[in-house]
Amino acid sequence: MGNVMAIAQSRPRADYEDFLYHEAALLDQWRLEEWFALFAPGATYEVPTMGKARDATPDNALFYVADDYRRLRHRVDRLLKKAAHAEWPRSSHVRMIGNVRVEGADERGTQIACSFVTYRSKNNITDTYIGHTYYTLVDDGGQLKIQSKRVLLGMNSLQPHGKISIIL
């Protein structure tokens, strides 16, 4: 992490869009090891429950997902096993990303916001997850890496989805 610098703000927006599209493609294709490699060590991946503020903390609010880097690694390991029953046989998904905005940059990295629609299909049922994702991206030796990814869902409950068994 020593060479991580918050110089990412000098990039054009298309660079960030390309990065997000690449991330979405890896998830759509279940290339979870490559997806995990997009995260900087110490990174977080979080999905608060609905209606929580953008800066809510999992220390006093209920989240659906609040992975530190270690548990994110376990999440990937789990999802690659056949015993992850909700995702074996695997579902198929399509992720659409739009409204990509570069919100600013500080010593933590560059803040990127986007909107998403993710379709998950299995057992002849297609569920739609919608929301906004907030990233902090850092530049790691010329490569963008995710320092934090927080997904604020736009539905008011997990009905009828029932679960978040995929990575959003």
């Binding site: 209606g51 999992p58 220390d59 609010a61 659906y64 609040a66 909700a86 409950s157 997990l158």
Partner: protein, 430 residues
């Protein structure tokens, strides 16, 4: 035992043969619209249903809205701080009078035509003279309708739609032990924290009750969760599990409630430390055990700190006191669709690090984005799809451990307890 292929004609949905050690449930109980309508009449309109916890309404005039047993309710406190429950439907034309999830108000006003009520539900609408007769509402018929019964035990509020129902305490019977134990985790009382997990499952509601205290499915369905525990805690947890079978029991009550009590390898926020919580966590947990020993005595302290419980209260309340405490309730929208809400219960004034460990544990196992619940949802939905073949494959087997003298947590006596009460009430028993 008659169980016809036409569920409308069925009068008995279970086969209960304690001599042969065989117990079966007819799958029409999970698929039939007629069964659901009978459940609404004979179970949900007569049994005590969980409404909420006192900590959700901290101050006088606080309110929340919540759907319970298929009806929209207002749960509030008046100026004096008394807890009340009303049907959230305007006596004028039916619109929901309160449409916010929570708030604080001394009165409620319907947005449709502006009928207003004080927070005791009394009609308080100002109208020009001659609009309504002087005798209007002298019988209270346009007050906000009260839920017929509201009673509580240790801060857990329940409602009953049957004015003539037995008392909550009689209904809960010996199962209050579980409410006592979770309430005694802390000397400062307990509270609901951080919101709720709200989700649906495309399966019959009774499958979630079964699943929530089913010790048998854990190792198979949740293999990946135990893999995770082993990789975090070391393979010693496996030998622990074998030793711990010795203290693995189910406790069943005639009112249809049950709880299992055993000892599992994960950490308990009150109060069983695991190595990943570090020296500080270990010291904090040890201090909690000391406090418990002092306050409730060693026998009860051991149960609180070092035993894991999964409780099912008839018909639709689950309290899992495991790696965190969940309070979970669910209700059928259709035979094959339920809505689920679950909350995390925690000590008031809990240390921040202990709270962090608790909420981490909660979402990791109990939440619909965690490492376990999505697989439960998959299992329940898979079973529901299997019931499409009910005409040719009509029975679920719930016989496990039926001839064992002391029922275990990974037997199925707790499900049998539920089904006997369910069947009794479905026959018209009260």
């Amino acid at each position: 035992m008659s169980t016809g292929s036409n569920p409308g004609q069925a009068t008995n949905w279970i086969i209960d043969d304690p001599v042969a050690g065989v117990f079966k449930v007819n799958r029409s109980a999970f698929t039939s619209q007629e069964v659901l309508e009978l459940e609404r009449e004979r179970i949900f309109d007569r049994a005590w249903l969980y409404l909420g916890h006192e900590s959700e309404l901290l101050n006088p005039n606080d309110f929340l809205t919540r759907s319970v047993g298929g009806r929209e309710l207002i749960f509030n406190r008046n100026r004096k701080g008394e807890f009340q429950a009303f049907l959230n439907t305007c006596p004028h034309r039916g619109a929901q009078v309160v449409r916010e999830p929570t708030g604080n108000a001394i009165s409620f006003k319907c947005f449709y035509h502006g009928w207003a009520f004080n927070n005791n539900g009394k009609f308080a609408t100002k109208s020009p003279p001659e609009t309504y007769p002087d005798s209007f509402n002298c019988a209270g018929d346009v007050d906000l309708p009260r839920v017929p019964r509201l009673e509580s035990y240790r801060g857990f509020y329940f409602i009953n739609y049957d004015a003539g129902a037995e008392s909550l305490l009689d209904f809960l019977g010996g199962a209050v032990d579980v409410l006592d134990i979770v309430s005694d985790h802390s000397p400062n009382g307990m509270e609901i924290v951080g919101g709720a997990h709200e989700y649906s499952i495309r399966a019959n509601w009774k499958l979630l009750l079964e699943n929530s205290f089913d010790g048998f499915h854990a190792a198979e369905t949740h293999e990946t969760y135990f893999d995770y525990l082993i990789s975090e805690l070391g393979s010693d947890v496996l030998s622990d599990i074998k030793t711990l079978q010795e203290i693995n029991r189910a406790h069943n009550f005639p009112q249809g409630h049950s709880f299992t009590e055993a000892r599992a390898p994960w950490g308990r926020p009150v109060a069983r430390s695991i190595p990943t919580w570090g020296e500080k966590g270990k010291a904090q947990e040890a201090a909690m055990v000391a406090e418990l020993n002092e306050r409730v005595g060693p026998e009860r302290a051991l149960r609180i700190a070092d035993r894991d419980r999964n409780a099912g209260f008839f018909p639709n309340l689950v309290i899992n006191d495991i790696m965190a405490i969940t309070v979970r309730t669910f209700y059928p929208v259709q035979p094959d669709l339920m809505l689920v809400r679950s909350w995390a219960l925690a000590p008031v004034g809990e240390d921040l690090e202990a709270r962090h460990r608790r909420l981490n544990n909660f979402l990791e196992f109990l939440g619909p984005g965690g490492f376990a619940t999505p697989d439960d949802v998959e299992a329940l939905e898979s079973a529901q799809r299997g019931y499409a073949a009910a005409k040719l494959a009509p029975w679920n087997d719930i016989s496990r451990g039926m001839l064992r003298a002391l029922p275990r947590a990974d037997d199925e006596s707790q499900m049998r307890t539920f089904w006997r009460e369910w069947n009794r009430r479905m026959q018209g028993g009260r």
